[in-house]
Point group: C2
Chain length 232, copies 2
């Protein structure tokens, strides 16, 4: 690349990265708000979460378009190319996290009037907090270009899966105890599945960060939300 | 582009498109096999489905890498650029369809010994057949570059959502009737959700084909698997 091209490339990359930072901030806030809205049955907050999601969708499209133009115009190589590809991949994961949180917010609205007892919310709350912690940690790893921190996030995904499996069992028991619990327990089952999938997206981002920094792929033997719950 | 570049670009695009065709064929076969495996409780077939998924994952990575190299090396513009981007997007959707079918195959294994009555399978079977028909139609629309056919797939997505909602209600009723049904009904609930999401991926591909052919985006007001089931 000529010097002119380098400067133009750097400016474009910086712009992409600051859009990722904006998306990350929004997705993080949506998750924290969803935890609040669920534990306080806050319908208004749930509606706000739903409204924010459109912004994430918009930013994801913007990143994809700009990144592809940058690849075509600047023809970056090696680490520079990985940097641009990383923004496309991470934006994709952040957009999907937004969809999953929005889905949980819609479930909060749907449960109005048939809200589960607080006791039952503890499990999904814990799981959501752990997914949020993973999510924050991986965005930090991206900002810091920290492959080891990304690897740590990747290795911790199993903990969310374990919480999910025990929550799943608890919800099934509750459904079996009283058929009137089946409605909201089903919302919580799908909600817990959503949180598990948020954890998977944090793991995806960890893989992207690791690849970005080291040029190596992490193993492919990770369970990607394909686990089956123990129902028997 | 010079004539040499055009020829090189055409060859690379053709290669990408034939890999998409291979992925489409595999994903279609996985879906058809999953319908068979569920209705015949065929454990062996379910295991084969699970094994095939790795090939889809591999091909998706291959397409992404090759497509990005093509963009960097050939700097395609307008329709040519859209063509390459389309292969990245469609490969992404096909890979996820593979994950969803694999998840259903794992549920078939998990239900061994506690299999639902045939009567209950009719609903999910119908839904799966409709999703498969949508999936075939949209892959044809891609091969034919047929924007109208893509639009028709896009408009039909609501029918799968309607089937999903009525199946959902049926499964809830069954769970309430007898707690011993809750285990396999939960697998079928998640399985039905997977089929609904396969329908969403067909709709995503329809949007990609429409954009590829016309350069225009279809509306963004489509429900993307974010619908909430009626539990009350």
């Amino acid at each position: 690349m000529t010097e002119h091209t380098v400067t133009a490339f750097d400016a474009e990359l910086k712009d992409l990265q600051s859009t990722i930072a904006e998306m990350g901030g929004l997705a993080e806030k949506m998750q924290a708000d969803a935890i609040d809205a669920l534990s306080r049955q806050d319908i208004k907050l749930a509606q706000q979460i739903i409204a924010v999601d459109a912004r994430l969708d918009h930013l994801q499209r913007e990143i994809e378009e700009k990144a592809i133009l940058t690849i075509a115009r600047r023809q970056p190589m090696a680490i520079d190319l990985r940097d641009v590809i990383a923004t496309i991949r991470i934006a994709n994961d952040l957009e999907r996290v937004g969809d999953l949180v929005k889905n949980m917010a819609k479930r909060i609205l749907a449960m109005e009037g048939h809200f589960p007892p607080q006791k039952l919310l503890a499990g999904i709350n814990n799981m959501s907090l752990m997914a949020l912690a993973q999510f924050k940690a991986v965005l930090d790893a991206y900002t810091q270009r920290d492959a080891q921190a990304a690897l740590a996030v990747w290795q911790r995904d199993g903990e969310i899966d374990n919480l999910y499996n025990s929550l799943f069992r608890e919800l099934l028991t509750y459904m079996m105890e009283d058929p009137r619990n089946i409605g909201f327990c089903t919302h919580l089952l799908f909600g817990a599945k959503n949180v598990e999938r948020i954890g998977d997206h944090a793991t995806n981002i960890a893989e992207t960060v690791y690849f970005l920094v080291t040029g190596q792929n992490l193993g492919v033997d990770r369970p990607k939300g394909e686990g089956i719950e123990p129902t028997a």
